[in-house]
Assembly symmetry: C6
């Protein structure tokens, strides 16, 4: 099966090369997990290192704000945009004025707008940020299922490999409820924030990846000036001794 | 009672020979558990080793995608299909367009379509992937019960042995809510993903198997190039010592 | 108070002789717990050892299937049926076609059908398998209460001793919600599946038994070729040492 | 404050003499906890040792069944009834036929029937078994509150001391939801079934008792041939060592 | 900021003098926690030691019953009432007959009745027992918020310092849901009943106290013949050793 | 990225200089966590140390009450108001009389009133206290999302940096449900109250901060005469030894 490297080296090692090509991968994480950073890094590295065209569909943030937030990683999105290697589809206005437009029209239109854009620019890599802002408009579970499936189909129809960023509805814990999207996607990557003995650890987990063998253990990751970094050979370690008290003046 | 070997050797040992013939077995698991791999392996091994005709009813994935995902296990489904040993019933289009067809017609039609196909090809082995996509259309619990029962009856009417793949609604934990399907099925096999001390273990459990004695302990399993492998003589072990911390640079 | 031995020796010891005569006992358990085996064993032993007529009311499984499943225990139900010591009331068709008959008629009819059969054959032992399939039709809690009570009354009117098999809505854990049936029944026996340190233990517990003294501790049970076996002098034991890890190749 | 001994010696010690006179005490417990035994014992001891007239209002069980169940404790209720020291108000028919009578009439009538009986026989001790069967008819929380209050008032208007037996909606655990009745009653006594390390312990707890000082610790109790026995000087003890495993053949 | 001593010495130490004057403090506790005792003690001590007029608004209990319950602490409320230092506003009839009066009239009237009484007697200390009986009539969360705020305003308009007694909806545990009243009040004091290793401990906690520094640790309290006693220098201690088992005969 | 120091030195160190300029930060905390103190401190320090104009939008408390509560920290808000460095927008009346004004008008008006005020005084720093009082009026999740987004936009349109104070719906624990606001905000700061072994610890956590690197560990904080103090180099420590019991007389 053909692979698409994510551009995050440790993660590509966990994936034994990269994501399976032509699929849709769900990326789950809480606030501050780095989902958006991962999404941009995936497109940026794709453009710079593999010369692949990327499309970023943004429901939650304007391109202006995104470009600015990504500057600290040294990623010059503007330049890639000028080179037609990186495209924004800015759907963020929709989230602020849902009441002013006829409801079902909005829903149809969102999917249609994405489809048209995708077919127009024929990207190799697509990021949807976030699925939650889209599906929140579909309280009916059957409709929600078919919306997600249609979106996936849109991505796969052009042979692209998509990352579907999504909000984790709870801080991740053993025993959480599974979401329908996790069953529908070809793969699921979870960015977790672990709290053990009052210390916080960030860890990445490949919950599911159809058709390719992969590392399914928790691996630590950090976010620094170069973006996400995954430590594919490390385990998550928790201190063995109970921590002594120290009073702070 | 006559037995139907699953083709997964370790599991067949746990079952003391195989599944009871002419029954419907529920297969539960989270995303990435390997339910679909197990379903295909059951039909593939049935065709290759026991010369039994198999039917795969797919609600969630197209035959094209399934064939491709199974290549990494060396399972040539196309060849079996040509030999009329393996049949796909592709119901995946239904999941994307439920609104365009009159609702109750869809529901009737799904069951009728499966029934017709089953009676036409008279398979010995049937896999439904997944029950969840079917029952999601029946929010009423009484209707849901009778749909599941009718589906089971369809399988048993031709003397086939069926695997009903189903989504586990939560990551499995002590104290989870039981599903009505677990009580209706003749047997229940659960693919679990255990998280203990930040390590992830995969384990299989036979929760229920009517009319045949079986191993009811948790047994480890892996997914490798040959598909599922169950270690029927192993227990699940968890490290005894608390893991020391190691900082990652 | 007169006693009715269940035919499961260890359980009869826990009950200091048997169930109180002329009462209705709730039997709770998860999938695979052995509720149906227990129900059949109760009637089989009653017929063979005490020459008492038994009635099995089945909502979930056909007599054909039940007879077959019980063969592995060496219980020849067919012979007992010919000797008029064992009767089936097969209500399983009802569960598959609830929509085709007028709803309230169905409900009335179920209770009436049971009543007529009970009064016709005047059994000493009655098993309802399962209460869940009946009460699922009564979402209103007041109606549910009175249905259960009427069913209990039907059993007691002929002086029979009844086992009401029922599905446990969750895997049993400390802190589960109690069901209204547990308060209405004269006694409650729970078949539990305990998961401790990734090992699974089966244990029986007499939660309630009005009017007779009884052992209220958890006792281990197994299911083998002779049916249920309860170890009335054993405690449930859990390994003291943390289990060392062993990697499986 | 005047005291009313419950007749259970250990409990009377915990209460430093008995229940506060002229109040309504809520008695909570799961199935098999012994609430009904406690209720009958309270009236029986009141009649035999203190020559006080008692009234038992039964929603759930017929007098015939109750008399029979209490025989094993050597309590001859029939004799007390002949001596006009013990009265049954049998409201159990109501629970089986709620649909046949006009709904709000039923509700009014239940309270009115109790009131009339109470004022007619002027008992010193009253037991309601159980509050749950009454309040289940009032899904509205405001109505439920006022029903409970009116019932309490009925008891206190004749200067009687009442025990309101009630079902605990969950197996008791730290963190359970409190019920409105616990705030409305003058006192709350809880019969708990503790499960620690797979051993079951029965313990009584006085959660609340207005106007009198009392022992608020958990105390063990047993049910034997003489009824309830509370060990007011004992603590609940749990084995310190982890229990070694013993395999059962 | 001016302080109002509660009259419970240990608590006043935790508050570094007393409650902030002219505020509304929420007092939360389960059944039997001693909320009512604390409310009366606050008014009694205010009258006797600081010569301040107090008003007790009772939704749940009649003045007759309250006076009687408080006798065991040696608090002669009747005398204080004659001296016009202690006033009852008895709103308890309302809870029994909510249906007989037009609903919204009742709601308006309750607030109006309290307001009129407060403005008439101009108390320095006010206790509402309990907020729960009032807010239960307002299922709508926005209405509930504004009712609570209006009640608080009524207290503060006359410069009084109010205790709002309220029912804790669960036995207190880490992770409970917070109530809107906790955010609206100027301060929150919680009476907790801790259950550790089957021993019960009572502890008081100042969760919030705007504008004044205070001790936010858990402190033990007891209820004896003199009312509430808070041990402001003690911590809650739990036995370190696992308790050995002792069988009770 | 330009920084805005919060004025709480330890927190500014955790943020490596301060909040990212021109963004909206969510501040979550339970009752008594110090959210309001933090909000005022942010504006006070901004005015005094950086000469920046601040706006405090208050839904829950009147300016009179706020000024008084802040006196204990030595913050003279009145003086800053006279110098036009600190502005109150008092929307607290709205919370008491929501029924008297037409509902949707109220909602529109709240957002419009804030917008007008913001554009009039062009503040550099804005605090909304609290978001909860605003969003409680929008039970529909889509409407709630767009209200929050519009409010954020209002802040960012004038280039201000906003703190959105919000109520934590539960006492914070691993596994809590995430709120939609946490995903919409540019940053999330959580004030937590940790209860470990019956001791209470206050800790601050930066859950999310887009575009700037930051310390994501839990850090202790206290509230003293100078306001909030964050110990950016300290960890939270919990006593290692089990605490011995001490009886209190």
């Amino acid at each position: 099966m053909e692979r698409v490297p994510t551009g995050v080296k440790g993660l590509d090692k966990m994936l034994e090369g990269g994501l399976p090509s032509g699929t849709c991968i769900l990326v789950l994480g809480g606030p501050g997990a780095g989902k958006t950073i991962f999404g941009i890094q995936y497109l940026y590295m794709g453009a710079v290192e593999y010369n692949e065209v990327g499309l970023y569909v943004s429901f939650d943030e304007s391109p202006v704000s995104l470009r600015k937030n990504m500057e600290c990683f040294g990623w010059n999105l503007k330049r890639l945009e000028t080179e037609a290697k990186f495209f924004f589809l800015d759907l963020s206005p929709i989230r602020a004025f849902p009441k002013e437009i006829e409801e079902s029209f909005v829903k149809m239109n969102l999917l249609e707008t994405i489809k048209k854009k995708v077919q127009e620019i024929q990207p190799r890599r697509i990021v949807i940020d976030s699925l939650a802002t889209l599906v929140v408009q579909f309280p009916n579970v059957v409709e929600r299922r078919s919306t997600v499936i249609n979106l996936f189909q849109t991505v796969m129809d052009v042979g692209a490999t998509g990352l579907m960023l999504n909000e984790l509805p709870t801080t991740y814990y053993p025993g959480r409820e599974l979401q329908v999207e996790e069953f529908l996607a070809h793969g699921v990557i979870i960015f977790r924030s672990l709290e053990e003995r009052l210390r916080i650890f960030k860890a990445i987990q490949i919950e599911k990846m159809r058709g390719v063998s992969h590392d399914s253990q928790l691996r630590p990751y950090t976010i620094d000036n170069n973006g996400l970094k995954v430590f594919s050979k490390e385990n998550i370690f928790v201190p063995a001794t109970t921590i002594p008290i120290r009073t702070t003046k």
